[in-house]
Amino acid sequence: MARKVILCRCEDVTATDVARAVKTGFSHLEEVKRYTGFGTGPCQGKECLRGVALALAALTGTPPAQMAPFTTRPPLSPTELKYFARRR
C-alpha cells in the first residue's frame, strides 16, 4: 500500500491522521471529525465517512455496524445563500 492514503479529499485527512487521533484517545467518529477535520469540507462526509469508519474499525476493533455516524448537517447539498435570502 502507498505510504500516504488520503481518506478525506476535501480536507486532506490521511490514514495516518486518523491513526494519530485514535492513539491520542479519540475513537468515535464525532471525535475524529473534530480532531482531524474530516467530513467538514464541501462533501460533508458523503465521500469520506465510510472510508474513515472502516479505518477506525481496523484500528479499534469496533465493528462498523456498531459505529454511530456523525450528525448530518443541513443543507443536504451545498446551496447558494441567495436562495435562502429570497425565501423571506
Binding site: T24, F26, E31, P42, P74, T79, L81, A85
Partner: protein, 366 residues
C-alpha cells in the same frame, strides 16, 4: 472553560478530574465562531479580554498547539444614530485601556472591506487587534496540556448525582464515582441542572444560537464583520470558509435545543446578502447550533455558591465563554489555590442578583 481550568489547576499540582457528559468539544466550546475580541462596554470585560487575546497569541508557545489564530480585527456596523452613539461611548472607554478601536466613516469601511455594501449603515467601529481562532484545536490543546500535567479527563461521563459529605462531595456518573473536596460547575448551558443536584438555584437559562459555514474561498476578508442591531457576525477562517451566525429568537427557555432551523438559514442568507451582496453566490455547506448560557444582566456567574460551601460556579457567559476561558481559567485557578482573588469574583458573584447590584454589559453579540 472546564479544560482550561483543569490545565491551570494541574499546572499548580492540584489533582483534577474533568467529567464531560459527551465527547470533548460537544458543547458550546466546540460549536462557536471562534471570535476573540476586546470591544466591550465595561472596564472589566475590556481588560480581561485584552489579557485573553494575549494568551491566545502565545497559545502555540505555551500549550504547543497551533490554534489557527488570525488577528484581522473586528468591524462593527451601526444602522442608526443611537447605535453610533453607543459605539462612540464604548470606543472612548476602550481607548482609555489602550485598545486601539477607532470609529470609521463609511468610506473607511469601503477601504477596509470593499465588498461591503455600506448603504444601510451610518458608521462603524474597528479594532485591528481583535482576532479569531479555530475552536477545536484550542480544546485539544488545553486537553492535552491538562493531561500532560496530570489531570484526568473522563468523556461520556455525565454527572447524575452529587452527594454532599462531611468533607466534600461524591460525584456520581454511570461509569463510577469521584470523591472531591471541591467541585466546579463549568457545564455551560447545562449548568442549572448540575447546580440543582446540590440544591443551588441558578438564574441562567439556555438559548439556541445557530451558525453556518460556507465552501472555502480565497482569502479576501480581513476582519470579523458584525451588524450591531441584528447580531449578524461573520469572518473568514484560515481554512477559507465564511463562518457566521445571526440571532433568531427562540423563546423556549426550558431546555437546551441543538436542532437546525430553516428560519436561521433564511435570516443568515438575507443578512449576509444585505451586508455583502456578492456572498449570495457562495454556497453554504453546513449549519449547526450551540447553546448560549444566558444570565439576567449579561455577565457571568463565578465563585463559591453561598448556600453550598465547596461548590463553585463558572457559568452564565452569554455566548462568550470560549473567548473568556483563557483569562478566566487562569484567575480561577489562582483563586482556588489560595492566590490573589481577581475583582471579577466579587462583580460576578451569584449573590448580586439578590442584592440588586448589577452593571449591564451591552456588547453581547449574536
Amino acid at each position: 472553560m472546564g479544560l482550561a481550568l483543569a490545565y491551570h489547576l494541574a499546572r499548580k499540582k492540584v489533582r483534577v478530574v474533568v467529567l464531560e457528559a459527551n465527547h470533548l468539544a460537544w458543547g458550546a466550546s466546540g460549536r462557536n465562531g471562534g471570535g476573540v475580541r476586546q470591544q466591550w462596554s465595561t472596564e472589566l470585560h475590556i481588560r480581561l479580554m485584552q489579557e485573553s487575546v494575549e494568551i491566545c497569541r502565545n497559545f502555540a508557545q505555551e500549550i504547543g498547539t497551533n490554534v489557527w489564530m488570525r488577528q484581522g480585527g473586528y468591524l462593527f456596523l451601526a444602522r442608526t444614530g443611537a447605535e453610533l452613539e453607543r459605539m462612540e461611548r464604548a470606543v472612548i472607554l476602550q481607548n482609555q485601556y489602550d485598545v486601539p478601536t477607532r470609529l470609521l466613516s463609511l468610506d473607511d469601511v469601503t477601504s477596509l472591506v470593499p465588498e461591503i455594501d455600506t448603504g444601510p449603515f451610518v458608521g462603524a467601529c474597528y479594532n485591528p487587534t481583535d482576532a479569531i481562532v479555530f475552536p477545536w484545536p484550542f480544546l485539544w490543546g488545553y486537553a492535552e496540556a491538562a493531561a500532560r500535567h496530570g489531570a484526568e479527563i473522563h468523556t461520556f461521563s455525565p454527572v447524575t448525582a452529587i452527594e454532599v459529605t462531611a468533607n466534600g462531595f461524591v460525584v456520581r456518573t454511570p461509569k463510577g464515582r469521584v470523591r472531591a473536596v471541591r467541585v466546579v460547575n463549568a457545564a455551560g448551558a447545562w449548568s442549572p441542572p448540575v447546580a440543582k443536584l446540590v440544591g443551588v438555584d441558578l438564574p441562567t437559562w439556555p438559548t439556541r444560537h445557530e451558525i453556518l459555514s460556507t465552501e472555502p474561498l480565497k482569502p479576501f476578508l480581513r476582519p470579523m464583520v458584525s451588524v450591531l442591531d441584528s447580531g449578524l457576525y461573520f469572518s473568514q477562517s484560515l481554512r477559507g470558509e465564511i463562518v457566521g451566525g445571526i440571532t433568531v429568537e427562540d423563546h423556549d427557555r426550558s431546555q437546551v435545543k441543538l436542532g437546525s432551523r430553516l428560519a436561521f438559514l433564511e435570516a443568515m442568507g438575507a443578512g449576509l446578502c444585505e451586508v455583502m451582496p456578492r456572498l449570495g453566490d457562495v454556497k453554504v455547506v453546513r449549519q449547526w447550533a450551540g447553546p448560549y448560557d444566558m444570565s439576567p444582566d449579561g455577565s457571568p456567574i463565578v465563585g463559591e455558591a453561598p448556600v453550598r460551601p465547596g461548590f463553585f460556579l463558572c457559568c452564565g457567559f452569554v455566548g462568550h465563554g470560549f473567548m473568556m476561558a483563557p483569562v478566566v481559567a487562569k484567575y480561577y485557578a489562582q483563586h482556588l489555590t489560595g492566590g490573589e482573588t481577581h475583582p471579577f469574583f466579587h462583580r460576578w458573584r451569584l449573590g448580586r442578583f439578590a442584592e440588586g447590584e448589577l452593571e449591564r454589559e451591552d456588547m453581547n453579540i449574536g
